[in-house]
């Protein structure tokens, strides 16, 4: 059995990260931005796991668990924020949530 070369994983991670970044920067819907950020985080996770395998070092997998936990917490807080904002303003279009300015 031939192992999948690590560069493939990294390439996939890079593509996922680029898609996520593009989504996070361009989408106006808050939920969509969240999804994009999840994509970026998981691209990172993928890279970490790949390197962990390459160097036979479990630290990378450990860090992934951390990232997942933080991502879950972040999603919980973020969604709660959006719900609160929606209740106030009936929208989660972030172009219209720009009160905090000069």
């Amino acid at each position: 059995m031939t192992a999948v070369p690590v560069s493939w994983y990294l390439l996939l991670a890079g593509v996922l990260f680029a898609i996520g970044t593009a989504g996070a920067l361009t989408r106006r819907n808050g939920i969509a931005i969240f999804l994009s950020i999840e994509l970026m985080l998981n691209a990172g996770n993928l890279a970490l796991v790949a390197y962990s395998r390459l160097w036979d070092d479990h630290t990378g997998q450990l860090v992934v668990f951390f990232v997942m936990a933080v991502a879950a917490a972040e999603a919980a807080v973020g969604l709660a924020l959006f719900i609160a904002i929606y209740r106030q303003r009936r929208t989660i279009d972030i172009n219209r949530i720009n009160l905090m300015r000069w």
Partner: protein, 648 residues
Amino acid sequence: MSALDLLWLIPLLPFAGAAVNGLAARAPQRAVTLVGVGFPLATLALALACLVEYAAVWPRAVENVLYRWTAGEAAIDVAFLLDPLSAVMLFVVTFVGFWIHVYSVGYMGREAGYRRYFAYLNLFLGAMLLLVLGNNFLVLFVGWEGVGLCSYLLIGFYYDQPFPPYAGMKAFIVNRIGDFAFLVGLFALLARFGTLRFGELFPRIAAAGEAATAPYALGLSFAGFVALCLFVGAMGKSAQIPLYVWLPDAMAGPTPVSALIHAATMVTAGVYVVARANVLYQLAPGVSLFVAAIGAATALLAATIGLAQTDIKKVLAYSTVSQLGYMFLALGVGAYTAAIFHLMTHAFFKALLFLGSGSVIHAMGGEQDMRRMGGLKRHLPVTYWTFVVGALAIAGVPGFAGFFSKDEILHAAAAEGQWLLWVVGLLTALLTAFYMFRAVHLTFHGEFRGSEEQAHHLHESPPVMTVPLVVLAVGAVVSGFVGLPALFTGGRDWNLFHRFLHPVVAELPGGSHEAHELGAPVEWALVLVAVAAALGGIFYARRVYGLGRGLEGGRVWAARSPFLHHLLVDKYRVDEAYDRVIVRPLHRLARILWKGVDALVIDGAVNLGAAATELTGDLVRFTTTGNVRNYALYFFLGVLALFWWVLL
């Protein structure tokens, strides 16, 4: 346990009184009195007990270490010393101090700041005792500054009026000038001899020989330099030319304060310091002569100003300056004992005169102008008679204390061959007798010149004020008899004061001091001339102001030489000259520093920083759009830049 072991407690007792009265807000007046007078009484009792015990161990010096206070390499103790010199000072300060506290109960009884007054007065007593009992120059200096602080606080006691706080500041600042030189002298001593303890320092200086007399600074020997520095300090504290200007203004304080601080005790601290450091002055004849010259000039100048003052306290203030000049004259000609003797007798009769004037002011409802007084003899008999005793004592009438001490000073000047100083001293004695009896005539004799209302309220002061007067009057008579000159006792040594102080002011072996033996006939002649001067002054004052003439006599006198009269009334315009030459240029310099350096440079630098920050903020605040996606973009670009920087 003997009282001498409790020597350290003497300065602490008044401090305790000050602390209690200072902290006990809203204490009833009776409790304030009890604390304010009780602690000085305890101090006096302990001091007397110590002095009685000390008489047995005389001429040994007793030292008592409270605790070790090490400053750098030189070990300096907070320690107290009882030797003949500090014993005399201890007696004067505690005795006169206590009776003035008693007097204050009556004088200040109806003042709003009664508690504050007693707290300050006790604080003063403690600081003064620290000054006279310290066994080294540093403890002395702490006391020296302490009494200066209390002087400031008490001159400005009536802080709701415009002038007293100003007078207090003036006193403090003028003293500060002297203190600067004083400190320089102490540093020089510490640097050269490594100790400030009197018991070690002075023997070392006396034995130093070449090290003390070789040229050091300002063209003076080491001893001369330090002696000059200490004397400049004494000029400030003891109101000598050119630093005497604060003392007349210090009369803005309550009258008992003038009696205690600005006549009897604090202002004599300079005399005490010079007498204490007599070893230095013996090694520096040039500086000694300077001291004598300044003293004589001050004595004469202040006496002439005293001739024309109309404020009864101002007369006494200039008289104090003049008498202090007398003491420095004595110190300068090497008559340290005579100076301390005059210090003691002066403390009695000048405190008496001030308290007497306080009694008059009390009766007159705060009036201090002698032009509105007159004829008070009938209404204030006790005050009158005690005041006359004080005036006779200061004039130097035989039998009263001032006669003996003044005569000893004049004799010392003559014996040194300083006939010019002798003439100045004699002239001052004449003027002193004249202006004191001018005050007596204007205040107590003739017709009453005040308002109807004042005439109705004229009354003798209560016993709490008259008893101290009587006590001090007795002191003003008998205190002279401890220093009977050998001339009067047929050459036998009855001069207890001389013998008592001798261990402290002993002449250095091989000193340059050469007293001329004048011989009994010359000495008798000198005494008679001095007595004639005193009596002449008294009788001339009677001719001008007495015999019902009152103010008229003064007017005739002034009309003869209007220019001179105005010059004296204006106190030679010394304050104005200082204002022109020193105060205003300093104000101008301060203004330049304020407007130029502080406002322009320092504030400018700070404001420039603030303006730059504001400008930057104005430029970059437009990046804060409030739009999260913009922030995310900045973030992304930042990450890219970071990658660029790290990886490439």
